[in-house]
Subunit: 275 residues, 4 copies
Amino acid sequence: MCRWLAYSGSPIKLEELLVKRAHSLIDQSLHARQGATTTNGDGFGVGWYDDAETPSVYRSTHPAWNDRNLRELAAAVSSPLFFAHIRASTGTAIQETNTHPFRYGRWLWMHNGLIREFPRVKRDLVLAVDESLFPSIEGTTDSETMFYLALTMGLEDDPVAAVERMVGFVEQTGHEHGVDLPIQMTIATTDGQKVWAFRYSSEGKSRSLFFSTRMDTLKALYPDIEELEGLSDETRVIVSEPLGDLPSAWNEVPEAHVGIVEPGADELLPFVPRA
Amino acid sequence: MCRWLAYSGSPIKLEELLVKRAHSLIDQSLHARQGATTTNGDGFGVGWYDDAETPSVYRSTHPAWNDRNLRELAAAVSSPLFFAHIRASTGTAIQETNTHPFRYGRWLWMHNGLIREFPRVKRDLVLAVDESLFPSIEGTTDSETMFYLALTMGLEDDPVAAVERMVGFVEQTGHEHGVDLPIQMTIATTDGQKVWAFRYSSEGKSRSLFFSTRMDTLKALYPDIEELEGLSDETRVIVSEPLGDLPSAWNEVPEAHVGIVEPGADELLPFVPRA
Amino acid sequence: MCRWLAYSGSPIKLEELLVKRAHSLIDQSLHARQGATTTNGDGFGVGWYDDAETPSVYRSTHPAWNDRNLRELAAAVSSPLFFAHIRASTGTAIQETNTHPFRYGRWLWMHNGLIREFPRVKRDLVLAVDESLFPSIEGTTDSETMFYLALTMGLEDDPVAAVERMVGFVEQTGHEHGVDLPIQMTIATTDGQKVWAFRYSSEGKSRSLFFSTRMDTLKALYPDIEELEGLSDETRVIVSEPLGDLPSAWNEVPEAHVGIVEPGADELLPFVPRA
Amino acid sequence: MCRWLAYSGSPIKLEELLVKRAHSLIDQSLHARQGATTTNGDGFGVGWYDDAETPSVYRSTHPAWNDRNLRELAAAVSSPLFFAHIRASTGTAIQETNTHPFRYGRWLWMHNGLIREFPRVKRDLVLAVDESLFPSIEGTTDSETMFYLALTMGLEDDPVAAVERMVGFVEQTGHEHGVDLPIQMTIATTDGQKVWAFRYSSEGKSRSLFFSTRMDTLKALYPDIEELEGLSDETRVIVSEPLGDLPSAWNEVPEAHVGIVEPGADELLPFVPRA
């Protein structure tokens, strides 16, 4: 089980969310918070946007908690939009090309969950990736395969429809190979402007996914918390597990939904795989 | 908190104890067994003897649980005497030269615990290392410093006395710097023939240390366990935490004692730091 | 340009050929011997046979010349048959799953050279890998793809024919994509009993490949060299570049040939790609 | 033999000097430019200043040429003052704590060269480091020892005098141990405002060191080179080896001199070790 975090809003240093907080992502990498889950020590990655055309990505196979370069980077880099991911491998090799977030052009993608019986269905899935995209696949994970399938199915034009088609295809392929519950996922993807966060699983019991409450609400509730002051009203954090203990700071995304963080009102839509 | 294992007896593949068992050392590296202890993901090392004059050492900064080379090595190498150690850093850098076991000539050394306030006392400790030994120090840990102090104080001639002197010196130095409880340790060291295992702490509440029961006793108790058959009566395993659930297989070393595994009867002696 | 070495004969410590000699493989990794070739610092691997059913493999992304574990391993392990490879990447990622030798069951495979325009032809090549073999592909290199194509085409039954078919297929696929000279290779493969070494390139100017002279001949020529005495008459070394300066010790494999090291007389056969 | 680069002037992306140019530092890491020197594949580091109180440092044990994170970082980070260093170990371990630049407070330090017979003199040198600084030493190199000796001897107050005292002490200590020519060095150090670059060796034949010509001169000479336009007249690059082939762009620092890059006119002073 992996963990991830997506941030969109007023530019902040990455370390604010990755390092400093109680229950920061790095802290979570070492100690699972709720119960007997695994340690996330199989590498990590961060991807961030600045003024360049494509996002930057830093990925390592070391545990996040003991990587000094990650701390240096997180203290040096500010960004209005970044992804971070800590990995617990479900079987594929521990190597940088298998760590999230994955990047294609302006897009980033990260995933918590798995395609069940991936070795059995991998070939059929990979064959469905568009020929022009195929050479860009660098790793061997189910997560990256899902990214390239979504790109094949129109991610850059209509992200929600593309991910619905991707999931529909993964479920269909799994069923053809006798896999009952082919997919379990929370996914975040972005083009550097909007962030889409998906929660879905074949069994209808998906891994957790939380949005931070609107900043204006939070500021009204907690006028004494200084660190909220500098953040714009539209600032949002999406996480696999809550980062702190502030009551009412987090809202769970419902089962089989997609949340969209964008300028103006955010959206929350039902998610339905397409055949 | 680190974990370690020392094996002496009939030659076996390293994987028998490092990989295969429930609660093998690698399994322990990922999941602490009893309660809320830390994950041991800050590197590992194995040292083993064969027919060469000096022991071989393999050390890595990756978590033991995801290092493929360790599994290959553990499946390929057999040895009658080997040490294995998984690290949870207490602050010093994650690098191969800081992973156990440490080697000097025919000797290996590994440690679980710490010298408290090490940065404050390090200079005084390091200055006490013999000039001829000083250049062989490769890392920056308290554990390696203890090894070189013990070598300075006669480890190769009288291991028990040397470690008692080393601990006495560390306690004295700590007290001079205002450290109340200067040392916490379980230590294993060997010259390739005997194994010495020490349990001591300034506060009299040392970390756990267990010896396996005599093989002839175990065989009599469990005549149906095939894997015990091939092992000589003198085979012993010393561990920071028991490796399995076999009742009566493990004996705890008492507080402030040293156990010596050697041909003929093993010994268990009180351990008293020397001024 | 990579470099490799295959050894078959009397059991010796790996370090004899990897570390100790002038122009040992590790020495070659740092300093190319003849002219302006690249440094081989993009990882290395060794694979060796002992009494186990499958060979052991140790692979690392560090330069061979500064990897301490490789030196430890090479000093500890003896084997009658081993492969070693040092990598200079032609573009694919530096990760353990991309380092040679590759292993499948009892087979090892390593390669120096490249499939030209690999990103353009990769999809068609990968699709031709048998469905049952597909999930075993772990990396992203042209070299591993060649291995799985050869396995698909019968490597385990008739290695020479399978590699001829594989090369024929790679050339045909390249031509279909407008690649003039699709392949450049020296390859070694083994089942733990025999070693097959191939030299071929579409342009007819393949990278170098040398066999050591028969040991009985060498012993007669150099009666004073002690280190030859212990080696059986059938001992052979196959290398991409000669390891030392002993005159008449090395014979170049001719262009478009395959050499087979086996009990009894070795063989040297023409190599002809099959459509 | 290591290589290094120091930049001071108009803020630029690190990649401009580390990646993009012909004979960039990364290019140099793979191919030595002039003759038969060693490959610099034993790790690298960059240190840079932005608006934070202390500089950031990114260090890795992988070869600079195949480290993807370095390329990402160099494309993302702009700085008006940065150091970069590629390492060829002279014997000490390949680990992050042994890679340059070293950092203490606001200071960075990097070195090309060596203290001869370092294992023999190390203890005496380390003992001379101030007690308050001693715990900050993290690695085991001669280069870091020189840094902490210079800090002990007043680097933060009078850098030139401190380095002259440090070199005098290293030479005296070497002579006491029978070392004829104790030190060989080019060194760069900075407090984030000025840069000091030293060239000295006991034998009077120091490794090369070059300053870029004043930008106003260069602009007058080469009015057509667009990339010079954006750079302030005070921008300077100091390098162990020239980065390109522009005639008259580089001035060699004379033997036994120190150059100081600072606001206003730079300085070039004789360097004389102090007893």
